[in-house]
């Protein structure tokens, strides 16, 4: 039992560490030199490995061990942080997460063969970072090579009057929007490229070759009158993060060429020949260079080489703004930590039980108040009113316990957006707003999947390709945004994009073809866009023929409706699309408005009530037979609850209209009597009444009677629907 609990703690800690690891890895993409992030990632892996060992979780330990080794090399500067490495480490993180989740389900679980093979592939990929990098060059080693040559006995210089420039472009240079050819062209304008050799060798043949990665290297023999090293460096200034550049001035020492040959990833002999081909070295000079290399190898042991490289990086040129950014990061991390120590972990079911008890207390409190009102005891009145105020406060803070900020859910999408944008090859950023908006934990848990679906949809079909965007005068980089805010008792979550928008006529044509609408139906834009949520739209054909969308949107809609929410879509062609999800704030206790029809009591959520209007005799006569009134110049459709629920009690002499609003639409509910505000503990109706339209739950009044909670969205919809039918 003890061990079990400890294991639970391990699993929970691991999840947190993995989350922190992901955050830091994503941060590294922007600031590859962020020492703190690298350290944090290392620590996370280290801790998981360590605590995993305590439980004898060999699978996790052995895998994490390899990851930790690579991270250690990164930390020591032996391995450069590249986009590929980050992507690989993210996959490793996911894999460790997978192993942890397996343990969470069954502490003795062994990964199946499929999972294991994934692990093997990752280990294979990690291997290249464990060894190969000894020969891999680091950027800006030119100075180093110079300092090293000074130790050597003075020797001859090469004959060539030209500069020699070695370029090895990083994989991501194209994706970062830069074209290596443009730099070479520019260089050609500055002086004269006497000779250039293009190195295609790093390119994998066949399918692994990513057409958007750059695999090229160049050896350039460059002649520039009055051009200095700084000027040449400045040509490659924009690309220096993504490119290893080495510049040798005219008449360099042969040792410097030796060093160059040594530092470049290609085979030494092959390189030497390239240099000769380039005209930078003569045959004789090459032979000399290679022999110097032998001497060097004896003087400096092989292990020495990479270490020299990393000292350089540490002393090396780090821009001040990067330091500032790192400091900013540090501060955020500290605040994060301080917040963590203020939190207590509580079992979710304990919290649920508390909420249930508070619910019962609210009902019992209402009963007590009712009893007290029947007496004339003033002291008792006062005491019960204090009590009910306190109960209200307890209710609010108990519910508050379940509320979580949506930001945590949103932040997961950084990863989703990053991964998907790489997958589909579009440059897309994520813009998060309203992250501090709170909603019930149970809702947050269930909203993740629909949101993921919508975000993917936006990225895949919503956002156009870069050149179309540029044609339309939009920035090449697309934006997906997530937004959340409160609106009259609901929380609204928006998923939007600045993409191409929906094509109304195409959707309509498709819907006609599918028989979802008839040709003479008059539909608003919203209704047309809403059609993509219909099950019939989720065909592969819709993806290619339409401007996309509609894949599994019906599933999204169903998921949202299961949470008692609604979903609608706004779109402007060429400008973008926004999907609005509206969800109830909480699922347990609400502030209600109690009203009566005959002897039956009904409750609507107070937040949805706009106003109440008393109807006098003449007005009642006027509106007999119709379903709308004139409310200050606007048409207000209404529903008579008496008719709706077929209440046979004698009609009362007074009637009132309760004006409710949902999703920007108003409708009136005609009732007999207005009772007032009421603390409503929502009790589900049970399966038997699951299909009941217009009622969303029940509650118990202080007197012990049952009151039904009205499903306002459904009633508003019905009132407006009836009205427009008559008009048509």
């Amino acid at each position: 039992m003890e061990l079990d609990q400890a294991l639970q703690t391990f699993i929970m800690e691991s999840r947190e560490l993995l989350e922190a690891m992901e955050e830091s890895l994503l941060g590294l993409e922007t600031f590859p030199d962020d020492r703190d992030a690298i350290n944090a990632i290392f620590r996370a892996a280290h801790t998981i490995k360590g605590s995993g060992g305590m439980f004898g979780l060999d699978g996790i330990v052995s895998f994490t061990h390899v990851v930790e080794n690579v991270l250690d090399r990164v930390r020591n500067g032996d391995v450069d942080v590249t986009g590929d490495l980050i992507a690989l480490l993210l996959s490793c993180r996911d894999y460790i997460g997978l192993l942890v989740e397996l343990i969470a389900v069954d502490s003795h679980a062994q990964p199946d063969s499929e999972t294991e093979s994934v692990g093997k592939v990752l280990l294979e990929q990690l291997k290249s970072y464990q060894k190969v990098n000894k020969l891999q060059p680091l950027a800006r080693t030119t100075e180093k090579s110079q300092s090293r040559t000074s130790v050597l006995p003075h020797s001859s210089t090469v004959q060539s009057d030209n500069w020699h420039i070695s370029l090895r472009f990083g994989l991501d240079v194209l994706r970062n929007g830069m074209d290596p050819m443009a730099f070479i062209r520019y260089l050609d304008n500055m002086g004269k490229i006497v000779h250039i050799v293009t190195l295609p060798d790093a390119m994998p043949l066949s399918l692994e070759m990513d057409a958007e990665s750059c695999y090229l290297g160049f050896e350039i023999d460059f002649q520039g009158d009055g051009v200095d090293k700084e000027a040449i460096e400045s040509v490659f200034e924009f690309v220096q993060e993504d490119c290893s550049i080495r510049i040798l001035p005219p008449h360099s020492h042969i040792e410097e060429y030796t060093q160059l040959i040594n530092d470049l990833p290609e085979d030494n002999i092959y390189l030497g020949e390239l240099l000769v081909k380039c005209g930078s070295l003569t045959k004789k000079e090459l032979e000399e260079a290679l022999s110097v290399q032998e001497t060097l190898r004896q003087e400096f042991s092989v292990e020495d080489a990479p270490k020299l490289g990393h000292i350089l990086v540490e002393q090396g040129v780090i821009q001040p703004e990067l330091v500032d950014a790192a400091l900013g990061k540090q501060k955020v991390a500290k605040e994060h930590k301080a917040q963590e120590s203020k939190l207590i972990r509580v079992q979710a079911d304990k919290l649920d039980q508390l909420i249930n008890l508070v619910g019962e207390m609210v009902i019992a409190g209402a009963a007590t108040s009712l009893l007290a009102l029947r007496t004339d005891d003033a002291a008792l009145h006062e005491s019960t009113s204090t009590l009910s105020r306190l109960v209200e406060e307890i209710r609010d803070s108990a519910l508050q316990l379940r509320m979580v900020q949506i930001g945590e859910t949103f932040s997961r999408f950084n990863r989703v957006v990053r991964d998907v944008s790489r997958e589909i090859g579009k440059d897309i950023g994520l813009d998060v707003r309203g992250a501090e908006t709170e909603l019930d934990k149970s809702v947050v848990e269930k909203i993740g999947d629909p949101l993921t679906h919508l975000v993917r949809n936006s990225m895949d079909h919503g956002i156009e390709k870069a050149e179309i965007r540029l044609q339309r005068g939009k920035p090449a980089k697309g934006t997906v945004f997530l937004n959340a805010y409160h609106e009259s008792g609901s929380i609204v979550v928006e998923v939007g994009d600045d993409g191409g928008g929906l094509n109304r006529s195409r959707i309509l044509a498709k819907a006609l073809e599918k028989g979802l609408v008839t040709a003479n139906q008059v539909l608003t834009d919203k209704e047309v866009f809403g059609l993509i949520f219909e099950a019939g739209f989720s065909t592969a054909e819709a993806v290619t023929n339409l401007s996309g969308r509609g894949v599994g949107m019906d599933v999204v809609k169903r998921n949202i409706e299961a949470l008692r929410g609604t979903v609608e879509i706004d779109s402007k062609e060429g400008v973008g699309t926004t999907v609005k999800i509206r969800l109830p704030l909480t699922l347990a206790i609400i502030e209600g408005f109690l009203m009566k029809v005959g002897s039956a009591s009904y409750v609507v959520p107070l937040d949805l009530v706009m106003e109440c209007i008393e109807l006098n005799e003449s007005e009642r006569r006027e509106m007999r037979g119709s379903n709308y009134i004139n409310l200050r110049g606007a048409v207000l459709p209404f529903i008579r609850l008496r008719d709706q629920f077929r209440i046979r009690d004698k009609a009362s002499r007074i009637e009132n209209i309760v004006v409710v609003q949902y999703a920007g639409q108003r409708a009136g509910l005609v009732v007999d009597e207005l009772v007032g505000e009421f603390q409503t503990v929502i009790k589900p109706l049970g399966k038997l009444f699951g299909n009941l339209k217009g009622i969303s739950g029940s509650t118990i009044l202080g007197s012990g009677e049952v009151a039904l909670i009205l499903d306002v969205p459904a009633l508003v919809h019905r009132a407006i629907g009836m009205e427009s039918q008559i008009v048509n």
Partner: protein
């Protein structure tokens, strides 16, 4: 960008029209590589290539290298001005070994 592929008598004739740039690189790659499974010879007509960047150039390299690995001949024909300019800048005309018409203005 459009890509047109025609296979007859074991020869694939490919014509790329428009930009051979990063924006279409993945797409073009996907069209080109399967050609090697279809035929014994590949001919790429570059006359309609309006623009070529490093990504587009890399694709030519890829095709060339795959072709030599598979032992299948590759011909690049009717180079457009944009293509020639790239091959000339990177000194790769002789690497591909195809006869080209170098306009006078470029030298």
């Amino acid at each position: 960008m459009t890509i047109h592929i025609e296979a007859s008598n074991g020869v694939c004739r490919v014509r790329v029209t428009g930009e051979m740039t990063i924006y279409h690189a993945a797409e073009i790659k996907q069209e080109l590589l399967p050609c090697f499974d279809l035929c014994e010879e590949l001919e790429i007509n570059l006359s309609e290539v309006s623009e070529m960047d490093t990504a587009g150039f890399q694709l030519l390299l890829l095709v060339k290298r795959v072709a030599s690995r598979e032992g299948k001949p590759l011909r690049l024909v009717e180079h457009s001005q944009a293509t020639l300019e790239v091959l000339d800048l990177l000194n790769m005309v002789s690497y591909f070994g195809d006869p080209v018409m170098m306009p006078r203005t470029m030298h």
